[in-house]
């Protein structure tokens, strides 16, 4: 096999951060090369250098054997390097096809666009990918998973020989992940070299040929994926061994009910959902993407209006119409889409952590007690291992996983009685995941009630005391957590579609 990329001694500094310290990486034609490391290890930065978005401060870069300097994204595309960014980089007001061909629109000499042409081309790409996406749909109207598919289609449309995927499956469900893997395998057989970044350990084993591990911006090592135990890779990543055992499930049958939801409905996405949540309990919500789990959370939190149903908090029915009502009732919600709903990206880490609890840190005259804030922020930065040069760093400059940790810190600080976490570990590395599990367990032990929505079955199984499974807006069953339940049982409920003959007209 021929070597297509060789990066060595790569250095990159940002103000206050030494992001890459002599990083190295190489890539062969026709291989899937996984790049792994903790949040903030420098994976995305290294790949942004390869795709021309950042200029390196030092080191050399060879493409197809020749030393090159990549001046910009255009130059990288010219070299056949395509990248799918960790944070989706799409234009929501444009159509799918317009997004795919932005900057390369087929046009006549006068800059007149050929819309029919790009729609046809996009259609062909999606047909080859075997995913149904309408090229004429506005990207705004698509789910995150579909938007991800658009990004992939965009990268494929360059006929890239080198394809970088930065956490492509973070927002995909199992079926969609399978589709992606099929696409990756086909590209691979055509000789395309693929860099694959992911925090999902099981995927690495299944899809990649080699694994390169980075830690703190430096190169740790490269191993063959097939004969290296996952534990070894994890140890390379975090520099220590991790406790992977599940927590014990307490008997909560006598604990008071913290939240009771009955007959909750909203359109087709939430249909007659009822459940109870006891104090000290962690209730997992499993289901396929689009099963209505997020919608249930948003309705409980008052972010969306409900058509019907009751929400009873600590035995009292509450009229929750806005998120403010929900917070007043002691309910917190950590959104799955942190960029749009969870973070003020231009504000520093400290400000974001304090965002929902500012009143607690201000006096009668609305003066903010900055010293106390700084102390609290330092606490969370330490306990969640948030990688940031200081608590005054703007959140948008943190790595993806570290942004997620800031959102978690924010809600932990808010100290709600009922906390809903929607995909809390999306894009978070194994070490921090274990830390977050521990962090979710400790408030539960302190008598708080917690709902965790997660698309990763092992996570739901490991974390939850009970597991609620949803399918097509309905709650199809509640299973016990821990070893008593298997992934198959959950999947059976998650795919239990509504086939009752009476409902056939729907």
């Amino acid at each position: 096999m021929t070597e297509v990329i060789r990066m060595s001694g790569i250095e990159k500094r940002f103000p206050g951060v030494h992001a890459l310290r002599g990083a190295q990486f190489d890539l062969m034609a026709g291989e899937v090369h996984a790049l792994m490391g903790e949040n903030g290890a420098g994976k995305s930065t290294l790949m942004k250098i390869l795709s021309g978005i950042y200029a390196p401060d030092g080191g050399t870069l060879h493409v197809n054997g020749a030393e090159v300097r990549i001046a910009g994204p255009r130059a990288a595309q010219g070299l056949g390097i395509g990248i799918i960014h960790q944070e989706l980089a799409l234009m929501p007001d444009l159509t799918v096809a317009q997004n795919i061909f932005i900057g390369r629109e087929p046009r006549s000499r006068w800059g007149v666009l050929d819309e029919a042409q790009i729609n046809r081309d996009a259609e062909a790409i999606f047909a080859a990918m075997k995913v149904p996406v309408d090229p004429r749909a506005e990207v705004r109207s698509l789910t995150i998973a579909k938007q991800q598919m658009v990004e992939i289609a965009k990268a494929l449309s360059f006929r890239s020989r080198i394809l970088i995927m930065d956490e492509p499956t973070a927002a995909l469900n199992d079926a969609e992940t399978e589709e992606l893997f099929a696409i990756i395998r086909r590209l691979k057989s055509e000789g395309v070299a693929i860099v694959y970044i992911s925090h999902k350990m099981d995927e690495i084993r299944r899809i990649s040929d080699r694994v390169t591990v980075m830690r703190d911006g430096a190169y740790v090592g490269t191993v063959a994926a097939s004969d290296t135990p996952i534990e070894t890779i994890i140890t390379m990543m975090v520099g220590r061994e991790l406790d992977q055992t599940a927590a014990e499930i307490p008997d909560l049958s006598a604990a008071p009910v913290a939240l009771e939801v009955s007959g909750l409905s909203r359109g087709r996405m939430v249909r007659d959902v009822s459940f109870t949540l006891r104090r000290g309990e962690i209730l997992g919500f499993a289901g396929l993407m689009g099963a209505g789990r997020t919608e249930v959370a948003r309705v409980i939190f008052g972010a969306d209006p409900r058509d019907g149903g009751k929400i009873i908090v600590h035995g009292k029915e509450r009229q929750i119409r806005t998120p403010q009502d929900a917070v007043a009732a002691g309910i917190g919600y950590l959104s799955e889409d942190r960029k749009h709903f969870g973070l003020a990206l231009g504000i520093d880490v400290r400000g974001n952590i304090a965002l929902t609890s500012l009143e607690r840190f201000s006096d009668r005259f609305l003066r903010v007690d900055d010293a106390a804030l700084a102390k609290i922020a330092a606490n969370y930065i330490g306990s969640l291992a948030i990688r940031t040069p200081s608590d005054r760093q703007e959140v948008r400059l943190l790595s993806g996983g570290n942004q997620q940790k800031v959102v978690i810190a924010k809600w932990l600080l808010r100290d709600c009685d009922i906390l809903i976490f929607d995909e809390p570990t999306r894009g978070i590395d194994v070490g921090a995941k274990a830390e977050i599990y521990r962090l979710l367990q400790s408030p539960a032990e302190a008598g708080k009630a917690i709902i965790v929505i997660s698309s990763e079955l092992p996570e739901v199984l490991r974390l939850s005391h009970r597991i609620a499974v949803m399918c097509e807006g309905r709650l199809t069953g509640i299973l016990p957590g821990g070893p008593a339940t298997s992934q198959q049982e959950i999947m059976r409920l998650a795919t239990q579609r509504d086939t009752a003959p009476q409902g056939a007209s729907a």
């Binding site: 234009m91 007001d93 900057g103 006068w110 007149v112 149904p132």
Partner: protein, 332 residues
């Protein structure tokens, strides 16, 4: 090869942009009906032509403002830029005594050059659009006064100049349709820019920049360069507005201009273009500009005091945007 079936988006009666235009259009019709019932003088041909003539300058400025607003920016200098280009035309035609086409070209070129400067300040020096164009607004206002010696410049040496706006080419051909040239210029320009927005690369980048500038940059597009080009185009259009107003007044009035930018932005907003960028249309803007002039004309015919006309305009702007918000929330 068998094509996989492509799931189409949920069928909607109208795209959301079209709905907004419909809303604005319906409001326009309601206003027209109301005023024609309220006063017999309203629906006279002369009055309709007066409304259209009054729309032409604000309409052209609003087209320029639409381009910039779709990119997610704002241009506060359109009004004084219009005046500046009128003064330039005065200098070329009256002070230097050159031929009319030279004056026309000079005005448009001056507008484009100023737009180029604003665009460069915003895209290359990263000055926020509000600040950069606020500065330009004052600079151009001052320069207009300096160049003209604070006195109006009359176009007495160029007798055909007023014809540019007030003459009627169409009327000469079809006497039944005495539509002034200024109005024709507005509509032709609207058609051209609408086409540019929807069919050309420049238009595509307007929407893309307003939608997610970072994504445009990551796609390897010269985002800054296109932004400068868009502001320059908007500036050139302001030059056309400058010619129209100078021709109508047969003079370049250096003290005029400030305040026009707000009318233009109002028309854009009433027409459903989002100040957040990423969506909008020229058709909407034209309807918005028409709504404003119909309103002012109608209120004047009903002898509503000038002060109250201003109050009503303010209320209409807020109501238009609120109606749009309501509609969007319902659409989900």
């Amino acid at each position: 090869m068998t094509a996989t079936p492509i799931a189409t988006a949920k069928p909607r009666l109208l795209a959301s942009g079209a709905q907004q235009k419909l809303l604005a259009f319906a409001s326009l019709i309601v206003l027209l009906l109301f005023f024609s019932l309220a006063s017999p003088n309203f629906l006279q041909t002369a009055n309709i032509l007066a409304i259209l003539q009054a729309t032409s300058v604000n309409g052209v400025l609003a087209i320029a403002a639409t381009l910039v607003i779709i990119t997610g920016g704002i241009d506060l200098s359109v009004g004084t830029l219009m005046t500046f280009t009128a003064v330039i035309a005065g200098v070329v035609l009256t002070f230097w005594g050159l031929a009319m086409p030279v004056g026309i070209l000079a005005a448009i070129a001056a507008g484009a050059a100023c737009g180029f400067i604003s665009g460069s300040l915003i895209a290359r020096m990263k000055i926020p659009p509000f600040i950069a164009t606020l500065g330009m607004m004052l600079i151009l206002k001052g320069l207009s006064l300096v160049i003209s010696g604070t006195k109006p410049i009359y176009f007495n040496d160029t007798p055909s100049f007023p014809q540019l706006s007030t003459g009627s080419l169409i009327g000469a051909l079809v006497p039944a349709l005495p539509v002034p040239n200024g109005v024709m210029i507005l509509f032709i320009l609207a058609l051209i820019i609408s086409w540019v927005l929807n069919r050309t690369t420049l238009g595509r980048y307007c929407f893309a920049l307003g939608s997610n500038e970072e994504a445009v940059r990551l796609s390897g597009v010269n985002a800054d360069g296109w932004k400068v080009a868009i502001y320059a185009l908007a500036g050139g259009i302001c030059g056309i507005a400058g010619l129209l107003i100078a021709s109508r007044l047969n003079s370049a009035q250096p003290a005029l201009g400030q305040g026009y930018e707000l009318d233009a932005i109002a028309a854009v907003v009433i027409g459903g273009t989002s100040l957040a960028g990423g969506r909008g249309s020229i058709l909407g803007t034209i309807i918005g500009a028409l709504i404003m002039s119909v309103l002012l004309n109608g209120l004047r015919i009903l002898s509503v005091a000038q002060e109250w006309q201003t109050v009503v305009t303010g209320v209409i702007i807020i109501a238009a945007v609120y109606a749009d918000m309501l509609r969007r929330r319902r659409a989900g």
